[in-house]
Structure formats: structure tokens, C-alpha cells
């Protein structure tokens, strides 16, 4: 049985789970409503007590929306983060915090890092299992966009070769990420530092501005907001060696001459074969440097976040349970509002199950309406939050509807409608004569 379950496609599993979650509610409804048609009375009651009904539904909607918004948002963030690291198989850096290197490279957050020297870089770049070994130079910015010095190969790798315009041909050209608010042909004056601390005058007097020659296709990563330039340009602006012997001073990109290599905080490595990653991670890890998989660091981070997520899911579930409880006690109070109508029905000979079906349908309608509205509100809120996070980080965060939330809502509606039998039954225990007298 377990094997059969695991052999099913994920969508089938999700669908089956959805059906199983809804089933108790549907069966309850079928049993209560069988052969009856209480809807005209339900509509009449909802309309008569429309203000209370609206508040009732809205309360459910808000609570459902909060549960959904949180889980959808968290999942969107996790996906976007994983996607941002997707292009970074292996990173080599000076020993220290893997997380700090990850933040500086994948997420382009300003971070002070020790440098790897030319010999270390040369050893990495010359390994024949290595396809791409890109040094980076970070720290400058223009108009809030980080300027990253690197090699043309990395630009091709990140954009999968999808570049509008063209890659740089000389040291005074730049390629911009998809979200940088500049055009091809725009001029750039790099400022030292980034953010509030950026000093636009620090580099003045370093000659001509840079000209945008191309734009990368969107990658959904923080690199979409970066300005990429030849690493030699960054080194040049800071008065460092060019990475090449003086007679090759105009060369851009590898090979670099170890003797003239100013150093790099990290080397982004792509291997020829996937399996080589593990061998290279061992080969490049020694007393002076560390090599790590960004994906693995994120996985550890997600593991920690996973605990938070479970806590959040539990909280969402508990909140739903509390809401269900308040819904049901509110329902008991609501039935007091129309107890004369219900007493009348019983007096003229309506069967008990029919009177129950009126109360139950009333509760089920308001619950389902609230839950549906909550689903919409939840995704709306998650969408807004995602847009905000995308705006802040440059990652493409999207809070797409997921099965987890649909299951949560289905379970909530199902359980609440089963529990609504309680208040519906309680109505029959009230005194008919007292109900008629109002």
C-alpha cells in the first residue's frame, strides 16, 4: 500500500489527499441534505441576518488568508532562493564563513571577505576538470546597482548566452542585468562602496565613464540588478594590477598571470561533468581555502527554516482549529437569532433532519464562502509580500498557489462542516414551545 502510494505521481497524490480531506464534509452534507431542499430558507436566513453572516464569513476569510499567506509566502521565498543559487555549482573562497561567501556571491550582498591569491586561482583554473573558473571583484556600485567585475564566460553562464546587444569588447564597456534601469549606450560612473556608504567621488579622475554594451536576459536572481564589467576594469579603477603581464595589459579575461593577480574573494566554478563537483570540492579544500556547494549551504538553511515552517504550519493549523471552534460557538448564538423560524418549521411538521439541514447548510455556506474568500485574500497578500521581497532583494519571488494551502482550506471546511452538526443537532433539543413564543 505504501509502495503503491509512493509510485503515484505527485499530482495524483495531492488530488487523492484533497478528495480524502473533502470527503467527510461532502458525506456529512449528503447525509444531512438527502431528499431535502432547504436552500430557499437558507438564502432567506442569510439575507435576513446579512450583517452577521458577512462578519461571520469575513472572520473565517481573514483567518484562512493569514494561514495561506504565510505558507505560500514562505514556499515562494524558499523556491526563489534555491533558484538564485542554481547557477552556482561550486564556490572556492578563503577559509571562513560559507554563508558570508554565499551572501556575497549568489546574493551580491556587500560583505568584507579575505582574498584568494593568484597562485590559488591559477591552480583552480588550470584543473582540467574545470570548465569555468570566474574570479569576481565586488564593492563598487552605480545608482544603487552593485558593480561586479568578472569574466565574459560567467556572464554567458549566468544568462545562458541570452544577451541583448553584446558582451563587452573593451575595458570601458559593461553588461547590465535585466532589471537595471539603464539602456544600452548609457554611461556609468562607478561609485566606491554600495548603498548609503557609496562615495560617487572616490573614483573620479579615473578617466572615461563605462558604456553599457549589452543586457542579460532575466535570471530571477539578484544578478538581474547588477552591472557586470570586466574584472580588469574594477582592478584598474582601484589602481591594482590588471591580472596580466604589462605587455598584455589590454587583454580581457583569462588566462590571468598569477604574478599580476590582485586577488579575488571567491572563484565561481563550473565543472565539465556533474560528478566532478565532489572530487573538486575535496581537491580545492585545504589550509588556505575552502570549497563548498551553495546548494548544500542553502539546504542546511532550509532545514533550519523547515523547523520554523513546521512551527508556522502548526500555528496556522491551531489558528484554524480555534477559528473553527469560534465559528461553531458563534453558530450556536446565531441559531438563537432564528429560533422562531426553526420552531415554526418544527411546529408545522418538518422532520428534525430537515431543520438540521437548514442550520447545517447555513453554516456550511458561510464557512465555504469565507474559506474561498480567504484563499483569494491569502494569495493576494502573499503576492503583495512577494512583490515587496522581490523589490528588496532582486530575487524573483512568486507566491503561486500550492497544494499545501488548498489542502489546509479543504481540511478546514471539511472539519468545520462535520462539527457544524453539533449546533444543528442542538437546535432540536431546544424547547419548541419556548421557540414559538419567541
Amino acid at each position: 500500500m505504501t509502495d503503491l502510494w509512493h509510485s503515484l505521481p505527485a499530482t495524483a497524490q495531492d488530488l487523492i489527499l484533497l478528495v480524502l480531506l473533502i470527503l467527510p464534509g461532502v458525506l456529512t452534507g449528503a447525509a444531512v441534505l438527502h431528499r431535502y431542499h432547504p436552500w430557499p430558507l437558507v438564502r432567506a436566513l442569510i439575507w435576513r441576518f446579512r450583517a452577521v453572516s458577512a462578519v461571520f464569513s469575513l472572520l473565517i476569510a481573514v483567518s484562512v488568508a493569514m494561514g495561506i499567506g504565510l505558507t505560500a509566502q514562505e514556499r515562494g521565498l524558499r523556491r526563489a532562493t534555491a533558484q538564485a543559487a542554481d547557477k552556482f555549482d561550486l564556490i572556492v573562497a578563503a577559509p571562513g564563513s560559507e554563508m558570508a561567501v554565499l551572501m556575497a556571491t549568489v546574493f551580491l550582498q556587500p560583505t568584507d571577505l579575505p582574498l584568494l591569491d593568484g597562485a590559488a586561482y591559477a591552480a583552480i583554473a588550470s584543473d582540467n576538470r574545470v570548465d569555468l573558473a570566474a574570479p569576481i571583484a565586488v564593492g563598487d556600485s552605480f545608482g544603487g546597482a552593485p558593480i561586479v567585475g568578472t569574466t565574459a564566460d560567467l556572464v554567458h553562464h549566468l544568462s545562458d548566452g541570452r544577451i541583448t546587444g553584446q558582451i563587452w569588447r573593451s575595458a570601458d564597456q559593461a553588461v547590465i542585468g535585466a532589471d537595471v534601469p539603464l539602456q544600452i549606450g548609457s554611461k556609468i560612473h562607478p561609485a566606491h562602496g554600495a548603498g548609503e556608504a557609496a562615495d560617487p567621488d572616490a573614483h573620479s579622475g579615473h578617466g572615461a565613464p563605462l558604456i553599457v554594451s549589452g543586457r542579460m536576459a532575466p535570471t530571477g536572481t539578484p544578478w538581474d540588478r547588477a552591472i557586470l564589467v570586466p574584472i580588469e576594469t574594477v582592478w584598474g579603477i582601484h589602481g591594482l594590477a590588471s591580472g596580466h603581464a604589462p605587455r598584455l595589459a589590454d587583454q580581457l579575461g583569462p588566462p590571468f598571470d598569477a604574478a599580476y593577480f590582485p586577488g579575488t574573494p571567491a572563484v565561481i566554478v563550473r565543472t565539465r561533468d556533474l560528478w566532478a563537483n565532489y572530487a573538486l570540492r575535496s581537491a580545492f579544500t585545504n589550509a588556505d581555502q575552502m570549497a563548498f556547494f551553495p546548494g548544500a549551504v542553502l539546504a542546511r538553511l532550509f532545514a533550519v527554516m523547515g523547523d520554523v515552517r513546521q512551527a508556522m504550519s502548526l500555528m496556522a493549523l491551531l489558528t484554524q482549529a480555534l477559528v473553527a471552534a469560534s465559528v461553531l460557538s458563534a453558530l450556536v448564538i446565531l441559531t438563537r437569532l432564528f429560533r422562531r423560524q426553526l420552531a415554526l418549521l418544527r411546529a408545522i411538521g418538518a422532520p428534525g433532519r430537515f431543520v438540521m439541514s437548514v442550520v447545517w447548510s447555513f453554516a456550511a455556506t458561510l464557512t465555504a464562502t469565507g474559506a474561498g474568500l480567504g484563499l483569494v485574500l491569502g494569495y493576494g497578500a502573499a503576492g503583495l509580500l512577494s512583490a515587496l521581497v522581490s523589490e528588496r532583494t532582486g530575487m524573483a519571488v512568486s507566491a503561486a498557489p500550492g497544494w499545501a494551502e488548498i489542502h489546509l482550506v479543504a481540511g478546514f471546511v471539511s472539519v468545520t462542516s462535520v462539527l457544524a452538526l453539533g449546533p444543528a443537532l442542538a437546535v432540536l433539543r431546544q424547547s419548541l414551545v419556548a421557540g414559538l413564543r419567541g
Binding site: R35, Y36, H37, P38, P40, L41, R43, A44, W47, R48, R340, Q341, L344, L345, R346, A347, I348, G349, A350, P351, G352, F354, S431, L432, V433, L436
Partner: protein, 220 residues
């Protein structure tokens, strides 16, 4: 089917056990009409509820033909009312959001499928017979007299043999009250229905075959 009423040793108690009504004996022939009169608190409505099988804490016998309502369970009493009893209340107890036809045919919402169409057409005929247009979307704008006639149509839609009315004219103006009294008397006399009416209304009581006077929870 019209049934005679035979009440013996009827006692209705409050939930705490205090006697609300004691009626050793009451007989009413099939198709006859009875008015119940008395001051407030005399037990008139309690008696009517007991006769309809609505009251709790009842002992003795309330026999409609061969059926003793006191001996039946809640569900069976409801089923008996659904078949044989039509009820009319002082304040009509209509669903304001529904139209006259939906109100008069409310029993169609839970009746067996094969009886629904009959119930609706019977309700419509009753409405027209009482001078009510069945078409309007709601009864919210109806006058008291019109509402009570919709309620009468509801009580008659399933063609019961027994009609029980609790102060049916008390919320109506004189003209509407007289018209209703006329309608009820005609129903009993020509429709052969057993009619029991709790009322203060002398005009209505005058039209009844018999009148029972109650005081302090018992007959005078």
C-alpha cells in the same frame, strides 16, 4: 381525513413540574369547530400546543381518531402534524424574504419528491381562493390581513383534516379579522375540517360550534 378529538386526563406541566393545565375531559366530533376563551395565562395556548403535540411534559391522552399524540415520540408527532394538522399563529410566522407561494408551499422543501408539485399547486389554489396573488417576490410589503391569509394557505396546503389557530385575528384590523373569521368558519363547515381556535375575538368565537372557557389552567 377528518378525525374526532378525544382528550382524557390531560395534564401539562412546566419544565419544573408545576401544573400549567389540567383538563379531565374534552370531546369534539369530526368536522366540528371549537373556540377556546379565557383571560391571559388561563392556559389557552398551552392547551392548543398540547392538542398539536407541540408541548413537552404532557400526561394523559390526546386522541385524534385512533392516534394518541401523548404516546408518540417527537418525530412521529411531527409526521402526524405534517399529514393531519394545519397551524395558524397570531403573528403569522412567515419568512419575510420569501414570496407568498414559497411561504405557503414551504412544506414542499422537505416533502417526498412525488408530493412536491401537488403541494405547490394546492398552495397556489388556496392563495388564489383567499384572494392573494401568489406571484410577488416577497411578502415583506404585505398587510397583516394578507400575511395571515398566506399563513392560512400554508396551513391548508397539505389538506389537513384538523386546523388549529392561536389568536388568528389578534394582529388584524377589524375588517381583516371579520374576513378571516368568515374564511375559517367556511373552511370548517364546508371543508369538513375540525377547527379549534384560541381567541378573545367575540366575532370569531360566535361562529364556532362550541366554546370552552378556561381559567387558571382548567375549565370553568
Amino acid at each position: 381525513m377528518t378525525r374526532p378529538l378525544h382528550v382524557t386526563d390531560l395534564m401539562v406541566q412546566s419544565p419544573r413540574g408545576a401544573p400549567l393545565l389540567v383538563l379531565p375531559h374534552l370531546r369534539l366530533g369530526a368536522g366540528q369547530s371549537l373556540g377556546i376563551r379565557g383571560p391571559s395565562g388561563a392556559g389557552k395556548t398551552t392547551l392548543l400546543h398540547a392538542l398539536a403535540g407541540l408541548a413537552d411534559h404532557v400526561s394523559g391522552q390526546v386522541r385524534w381518531g385512533e392516534t394518541d399524540l401523548v404516546a408518540l415520540g417527537t418525530a412521529q408527532r411531527a409526521a402526524f402534524r405534517a399529514r393531519h394538522i394545519g397551524l395558524i399563529f397570531q403573528d403569522f410566522l412567515l419568512f419575510d424574504e420569501l414570496g407568498p407561494l414559497a411561504n405557503a408551499a414551504v412544506a414542499a422543501l422537505y416533502a417526498p419528491r412525488n408530493r412536491r408539485a401537488d403541494l405547490r399547486s394546492a398552495a397556489e389554489q388556496r392563495l388564489r381562493g383567499l384572494g392573494i396573488n401568489p406571484a410577488p417576490r416577497t411578502v415583506a410589503s404585505f398587510s397583516g390581513g394578507e400575511r395571515q391569509r398566506v399563513a392560512v394557505a400554508r396551513a391548508l396546503a397539505h389538506d389537513p383534516g384538523i386546523l388549529l389557530a392561536d389568536e388568528p385575528t389578534a394582529s388584524l384590523d377589524r375588517e381583516a379579522a371579520d374576513r378571516l373569521a368568515q374564511d375559517l368558519a367556511t373552511l370548517s363547515r364546508e371543508g369538513g375540517k375540525t377547527l379549534i381556535v384560541v381567541s378573545h375575538d367575540a366575532v370569531l368565537l360566535d361562529r364556532m360550534d362550541h366554546v370552552l372557557n378556561l381559567q387558571d389552567g382548567g375549565p370553568i
